[in-house]
């Protein structure tokens, strides 16, 4: 095993995560390489140094504080309402609320105009008479092409039977 290879495996070796063959090669190289020994020692020492950051003790009354806090702790929906109340009374947000309200009003008005269902009697009242006739006789309008050629069709029958 070479130094470069060993240095990559140092954290795993210290964590006991190398297989037995790799660990043996690692130890074999370490015995004869002072530089790698120092490198491994540096890893070990820096990890051990973390002990210098010691624990803190809890406040002596932490249990009492907890029960007091639990009693005064609001359920989530009350916290949400309190948050909303605070947001709505924030003066700095007034322009934002004004913009949102304006957009909502304009949007509602636009939507109303677009999808408005008109009264049929009102529609009929403003239609011109020829359009009104067409609407009243819609079936005839659909067959207009046939109707307009009706005379020709009658003559066509005579023409076809002429030879007979």
């Amino acid at each position: 095993m070479k130094c470069k290879e060993l240095k990559k495996l140092i954290p795993e070796f210290l964590g006991g995560d190398l297989n037995s063959s790799q660990a043996n090669d690692f130890r074999k190289h370490m015995k004869s390489c002072r530089a790698c020994q120092l490198e491994v020692r540096a890893y070990e020492s820096s990890w051990e140094m973390l002990d210098s950051w010691q624990d803190i003790e809890p406040h002596p009354d932490y249990v009492f504080r907890f029960w007091n806090r639990l009693v005064s702790h609001k359920p989530w929906h009350e916290e949400l309402l309190a948050g909303l109340r605070q947001a709505l009374t924030n003066r700095q947000l007034v322009p934002v609320y004004a913009a949102v309200c304006t957009l909502l009003i304009v949007g509602a008005f636009t939507l109303k105009t677009t999808v408005e269902v008109r009264n049929p009697d009102e529609v009929l009242a403003v239609l011109p008479s020829d359009e009104l006739d067409m609407v009243a006789n819609l079936d005839l309008a659909q067959n207009y092409d046939i109707i307009s050629d009706l005379d020709f069709l009658e003559d066509m029958e005579i023409i076809e039977n002429l030879d007979a």
Binding site: P11, G15, P58, V63, F66
Partner: protein, 186 residues
């Protein structure tokens, strides 16, 4: 926890006395502020208390409570302004907190006490400077002594990912603490 679910309130206090200090220290090392850590520890147990009826023993209680602490601590860190710890400042904002960090000042030479304090500050800085995931893995492994599997469950990743995070963290810590490694032994 199961006893508490049955209505045994003293069981909850037993649970609290067993885990409170560990949750407090976990939060303290992650957020870097004692007062915030105390608040977070209290919030963790409020959540535990309120979840009493819905708790299911599918995971170990320890993993569950650390997951709650992790989530609350992450939220706290992301919302608060971080203040860098320097050698010129106290390790903590309160005068009393420094003394609590010392094992037994009367048994040590003042020079050794001072050296330990300085080392503690540098170590704290080094750990705080790690990426979030590496820092979390280091705190759970080195200080809370959790197994790779427990850390993996808490962090929502695989044990192999935890090992990888710890390996990278060890490399980073070696670099950041290398200038202290030539200090004379105590």
């Amino acid at each position: 926890m199961l006893e508490f679910q049955k209505g045994n309130v003293p069981a909850f206090e037993t649970l609290m006395r067993k885990y409170y200090a560990r949750i407090l220290n976990f939060s303290y090392r992650f957020v870097g502020d004692r007062d915030t850590a105390e608040d977070l520890a209290q919030e963790v147990f409020i959540k535990v208390h309120r979840s009493g009826s819905s708790y299911r023993p599918q995971a170990k209680f320890q993993t569950w409570i650390y997951t709650i602490a992790k989530n609350l601590s992450l939220n706290a860190v992301r919302s608060m302004k971080r203040q860098a710890v320097s050698l010129d400042q106290d390790v903590d904002g309160e005068d009393g907190a420094m003394q609590r960090q010392l094992a037994d000042p009367k048994a040590e030479h003042p020079a050794q006490v001072l050296q330990r304090q300085e080392t503690a500050v540098i170590v704290q800085e080094a750990v705080n400077s790690l990426p979030e995931n590496q820092k979390l893995a280091v705190i759970l492994r080195r200080y809370e002594r959790l197994s790779y599997e427990a850390i993996a469950e808490t962090m929502g990743c695989s044990p192999e990912a935890v090992k990888s995070l710890l390996n990278r963290a060890k490399e980073n810590l070696k670099v950041k603490l290398s200038h202290l490694l030539h200090m004379p032994d105590k």
